[in-house]
């Protein structure tokens, strides 16, 4: 049995969970077994996971699980995984997923694979997963040697497809241990797709000259429905918030489209973004290293190019759908 831990946000299934569950159903196919989804805490629309391949959706509806504690979550998931005989446990490669992956691997004596980005291969009875290493500079094949595997799935790894009907959510009761931590405050920028989940990212660097110039970047991001990011020196000098910093020492991302504006393309920056499907580079220096990693390049002054690009996208959007 494949057990997928589905994440929720404010009582609703997170979009990224459809991908995690769909991936789980494909892993289950490879193993000739079924995929079951598990929701922790309150959630009103868990049945939707049935359409993405969950044979059953289980929910532990306890209020105590509405805030995250890696220790408590691990105990609850471990209990259910053991009772149900899970062979693979899958979580999202999210902040919560990463906090429980190592714990689960110990609790279940399971081989961990952080950030799988493809379906595994079954070789000699063992699952082989691919994952990026060296901040995206290489791809590794990781073999799980133990009976059980615990996987975190990198976002945007495969396109979830709705395959069937919704299912009824089954409530399950487990003993929930007391938490030794207390969540005091959660702050989330609303209405913005978080960077690791964004399909399109518009990113800008030191070439912007001054934080007051960011309007043109935000305009472009708005017409594309994109999330904004930045290079490290930009975050370090306080021009943009830290959570926008992408690269080897920031967030590693792999959107469908990455647009780099006034970023030179240093190796540490490329490390976190070069798994993006398509890269567009706007830079005035024809020798900028980023052009070597780009699919499309525009050489010239960003202050002229970016507003024109925004206008062109607007025109395109008004004539398409």
């Amino acid at each position: 049995m494949v057990l997928v831990v589905a994440e929720t946000l404010e009582g609703k299934i997170k979009n990224s969970s459809f991908e995690t569950v769909y991936y789980g159903s494909k892993v289950a196919e490879i193993l000739g077994t079924s995929c079951h989804a598990l929701i922790l805490g309150p959630c009103s629309d868990g049945g939707r996971l049935g359409s993405f391949g969950a044979k059953e959706v289980w929910q532990v509806e306890d209020q105590a699980l509405s805030s995250f504690d890696s220790q408590v979550y691990t105990k609850v998931i471990t209990q259910i995984a053991k009772e149900q005989g899970a062979k693979v446990v899958i979580v999202a490669d999210s902040s919560n997923g990463k906090s429980i992956l190592g714990r689960l691997s110990i609790a279940l004596n399971a081989g961990p694979v952080r950030g799988a980005n493809k379906l595994p291969e079954l070789k000699d009875g063992k699952l082989n997963f691919q994952r990026p290493v060296f901040s995206g500079k290489a791809i590794a094949t990781c073999r799980v040697n133990s009976e059980i595997a615990v996987i975190s799935l990198m976002g945007n790894s495969l396109k979830p497809q709705s395959t069937g009907a919704e299912v009824a959510v089954k409530a399950i009761n487990v003993e929930i241990p007391a938490s030794k931590t207390k969540v005091i405050k959660v702050e989330r920028s609303v209405g913005i797709v978080p960077l690791p989940e964004a399909q399109i990212v518009v990113s800008a660097g030191r070439g912007m000259k001054d934080p007051s110039n960011w309007g043109i970047v935000e305009d472009l991001a708005a017409v594309l429905g994109a999330t904004t990011a930045c290079s490290r020196p930009v975050a370090d000098s306080g021009w943009r918030p830290h959570h926008e910093h992408v690269g080897q020492t920031g967030i590693a991302i792999r959107p469908n489209l990455y647009i780099a504006i006034g970023i030179s393309g240093a190796i540490q920056h490329l490390a976190g973004v070069n798994s993006s499907k398509v890269i567009v580079v706007i830079n005035k220096d024809p020798e900028a290293p980023f052009f070597k990693a780009a699919d499309y390049g525009v050489c010239g002054d960003l202050f002229e190019i970016v507003p024109k690009f925004t206008e062109a996208v607007k025109k395109f959007k008004s004539t398409h759908h």
Partner: protein, 246 residues
């Protein structure tokens, strides 16, 4: 406060990444090694700041062969009081976590720090594994950690924001950017590091649950298609019709 900081050794960020023996082993030829930036810049420095505020000691622990003592001496030069090296070739996050937990088990550390991930294997596993082995709370990707009396207020990065958590009693954190500012060791630190205690310990037996069997370097992009800066309609067309991303 008694603090333990786990430090790891990684290739420099600019190192050439290549593999040998048919893609099974990382080729260290010509590669310079450093202390993992998350461990050095954030975990270690925040640990030292806590010690400076509250008294106590900072111990660093590293799993690796004798040659890796360069990074241990650096951590001592930056300000750690003493060090432990588990004499082994680290093979997986599991092989490391088992050793750290075995060492820390009877030492009653108040806080155990790890980096949020190493910049080579990027696994983000060791901190959580150690916490589970010791049955302690674990807060990952921590960008702020302050104390109000005995209660630690810990802020962790979450998607598009942050979460503030209170924790009492011993716990494990993994350090992210923002937690502290990098410190450069000074001459006095470098001199005193030479005489600070470094204990070498034989590893406990361990069986890894997963291993790496192959590596490859992704194919480089073919050549970039340059678009006329005065023709952004063309760029939009390419992104729509050719790349199919908008």
């Amino acid at each position: 406060m008694k603090i333990l900081v786990a430090i790891s050794q990684t290739p420099e960020t600019t190192a050439r990444i290549a593999f040998k023996n048919e893609g099974t082993i990382f080729d260290t030829n010509g590669v310079n090694f450093i202390m993992n930036p998350y461990d050095e810049w954030y975990a270690l420095v925040r640990a030292l700041e806590l010690k400076e505020q509250k008294g106590g000691s900072v111990t660093v622990i590293h799993c690796g062969p004798p040659a890796n003592e360069v990074i241990i001496r650096k951590a001592l030069a930056i300000g750690a009081d003493d060090a432990v090296r588990i004499n082994m070739e680290p093979l997986s996050a599991h092989s490391i976590a088992i050793q750290i937990a075995a060492y820390a088990k009877d030492q009653s550390f108040d806080v155990i720090f790890a980096g949020k991930e190493t910049i080579d294997y990027n696994e983000s596993l060791v901190g959580g594994m150690v916490a589970e082995l010791l049955d302690l709370p674990f807060i990952s990707h921590v960008s702020k950690l302050v104390y109000n009396d005995a209660v630690a207020s810990v802020t962790r990065d979450i998607e598009g924001g942050e979460e503030e958590i209170e924790v009492t009693g011993p716990y494990v954190v993994s350090a992210a950017k923002g937690l502290a500012e990098q410190r450069i060791p000074n001459m006095r630190g470098i001199m005193s590091a030479k005489t600070k205690p470094l204990q070498v310990i034989t590893p406990v037996p361990e069986e890894s649950t997963a291993d790496y069997i192959h590596f490859q370097v992704p194919a480089a992009k073919t050549s970039v298609k340059m678009v006329d800066p005065n023709n952004m309609d063309e760029l939009v067309r390419l992104l729509h019709e050719e790349a199919k991303v908008i």
